[in-house]
């Protein structure tokens, strides 16, 4: 974790240290709709019946990025955002379970905050003066989960006060989008991004540990206003 932070800090420092050129820096500020599109395996562990999965719900959150142009087409972008807190709902499909356990299906069992800084190398098509410029990017996403907590419904199903942890993930990220040039300084941006996020969720209910693999195929829609300087 510390190593990864240092790596990110290094990238940031590298960006900041690049030679200056005209309007090579762009801030983007906007909103992103984060659709985690997570699939979990069934939970395993003691006292864990079959058929219990999770569904991570969508969240819209403010978006912030900084990009630095390396030349007319290539650039580096660090995408951030106000880390979204996702509701994690129960998906219970086991007719052998008692009715009042099944009735918890669909209820929010946990919440988790997702901090997912992503560094992209972008290639922007067409000439810098073009009104509309498509771009594509590839990079690395690092996702850290924190502030995970179990709700009353989660505690009821799990059997008591429960802690929740998700492992960090590092993986490939891709994005594609369009920029509309308003003037030399201002621009509008729309992008669709995704990343490969593989994690493992561990719950601990009064000593009873349960685990499930969780895989996100997030779809992040971004609308942002850019300011170049």
């Amino acid at each position: 974790m510390t190593t990864r932070l240092l790596m990110l800090a290094g990238v940031l420092a590298a960006c900041a240290a690049l030679p200056a050129a005209a309007q090579q820096n762009t801030f983007k500020l906007g909103i992103s709709s984060v659709q985690p599109r997570a699939t979990t395996g069934e939970f395993s562990g003691p006292f864990t019946p079959a058929g219990i999965r999770l569904a991570v719900r969508d969240r819209t959150t403010p978006f912030l990025s900084y990009s630095r142009a390396l030349d007319a087409h290539w650039g580096v972008e660090l995408a951030l955002g106000l880390p979204p807190t996702h509701d994690i709902a129960l998906d219970i499909r086991n007719p052998a379970l008692p009715g009042n356990a099944e009735a918890l299906s669909g209820q929010v069992a946990a919440q988790v905050r997702q901090i997912a800084p992503t560094v992209f190398v972008n290639y922007t098509f067409l000439a810098p003066a073009s009104a509309v410029r498509p771009f594509v990017g590839a990079g690395i996403n690092y996702t850290h989960f924190d502030k995970a907590r179990s709700t009353a419904a989660g505690d009821a199903l799990d059997g008591g006060p429960t802690s929740v942890e998700l492992k960090d993930s590092t993986g490939l990220a891709l994005q594609a989008g369009l920029g509309w040039r308003i003037d030399d300084r201002w621009s509008l941006w729309a992008a669709l991004a995704t990343a490969r996020v593989k994690s493992q969720i561990t719950t601990n209910t009064l000593g009873v540990e349960r685990r499930s693999d969780i895989r996100f195929r997030p779809r992040v829609l971004v609308l942002a206003l850019g300011y170049a300087f």
């Binding site: 006292f47 912030l64 059997g159 009064l206």
Partner: protein, 539 residues
Amino acid sequence: MTPVHLLTALAAASLMAACGGSDSPANLGRVDDSPARGALIQNPPPRTAFFTAADLAAKLQASASGRNLLAVAGTPKCGVDVQYIQYGTVGGAGEATDATGALMTPSGGAGCTGSRPVVLYGHGTTTAKRYNLANLLDEANPAWSEAALIASMYAAQGFIVVAPNYAGYDASRLGYHPYLNAEQQSSEMIDALAAARKALPGLLQPVQDSGKLFITGYSQGGHVAMATHRALQAAGQPVTASAPMSGPYALAAFNDAVFYGNVNLGSTLFTPLLVTSYQKAYGNLYTRLTDLYEPAYASGIDTLLPSDTPTATLTVPGGRLPQTALFSRTPPTAPAGSPPALQATLNAITPPTTPPQLAPLFALGFGPSNLLNNQARLNYLLDALARPDGAFPSPGTGLPAAEPQHPVRIATKKNDLRNWTPTRPVLLCGGSGDPSVFYSLNTQLMQGLWSAPSPAAMPAGLLSVLDVDSPAGGVADPFAAAKAGFAQAKAGAASAAVSAGASDGGASAVLQAYHGGLVPPFCNVAARGFFQQALALGL
């Protein structure tokens, strides 16, 4: 460059917030890593299953065995929460250890919440190491049917149930099970009860202990229940009533009968459990395993049970244990110089041919691939012949031999329960045709001992005895329903076997199902009625 620095600062702040996140296990209660006796290791304990009364009824309705149970136990009145308790206790030699069990609590409306009576339940013999009565959501757990039985019999009718899995099972760190060790098992029951009482206030749906304590258990658990009642009474602790069921209470007489050739069904599983338990407790049963066991089975038998290997696998031909042959079909040879009558006696009990109706059962206990060697059987018998039990082979005092010399006989006497008289109500329940724990040598023997004119007789009216396998005595018979139900279940098992092609009228199927399947629901429902009556009378 100021904006870049600003951004760096923002990112760093965001990432630092990530590091400071509160994702460490929090609020998970208190854990006692070196638990004293009766300590609740994880407090509060996790709840492992929860049913409303309707959920439990629906669950039981979903299977044939569940419907049978529901018919006997009655419609659930309460929901049931199942908690998994871990507690500190002792091993067979007094060593500190831990064990796990189930704490079942009623929930729902009136008669299910608030102040509730406690049933302390001892389970029957199992070879399954992963036996866990708290696993009521896992029908693949070998304890599931007994867990469903006690949940529906007691918890769903408003009783708090404390049911230890026993030391040596499930997650207990004890490497063996102190089987039928009266001192250890009663201590453990008391420890589990103490731990459960500590757990009650912190449950998701808390209930209170009303102070009424009922003790019951089946088979091994019948012995455990009686030993626990005895221990609590000796300690001056209150017991409201107890109902030991189908247990080997007169262990010394019962074990003598087995060595005399009255081999019970299940003996090749009971024997290694018993020998290991007493070897661990007393250390003098054998020097080498081959002192007792045939070489084919001796190696590793002291660590074989309990096991995660199914019994059926352990007892396949060529497996780790013989299926039923406890003894050799060749009679032991009387020592040189013995009176000729001794060899004749040995021949006559290898196997015994009387009583004729039991001869086929006893014969199953003999075979070419037998568990115990003839020298061990002979040594045992020589002591039993010289210093006979007062109940077997000839009825006399009804008490154990005064001074047995053979280490196994010394051990069984130490764990024989014919040495006390309860001062609180007791129901002894069993089935007189039980092929695994003989009724006459255990239940009936205790009945005689605790009834006038025996010097150990209980005060009039405190002892009730139920043989579910006896004719109902009309409207005055408080157990008429249990007897009629048992008769019906027995007939059902026989006719099912006949339909499946049995040519013996279903007798073998009934014999196989008798102890483990047919008797338990009816004895438990009788025990519950007995407890409810004690509550109604304010005893």
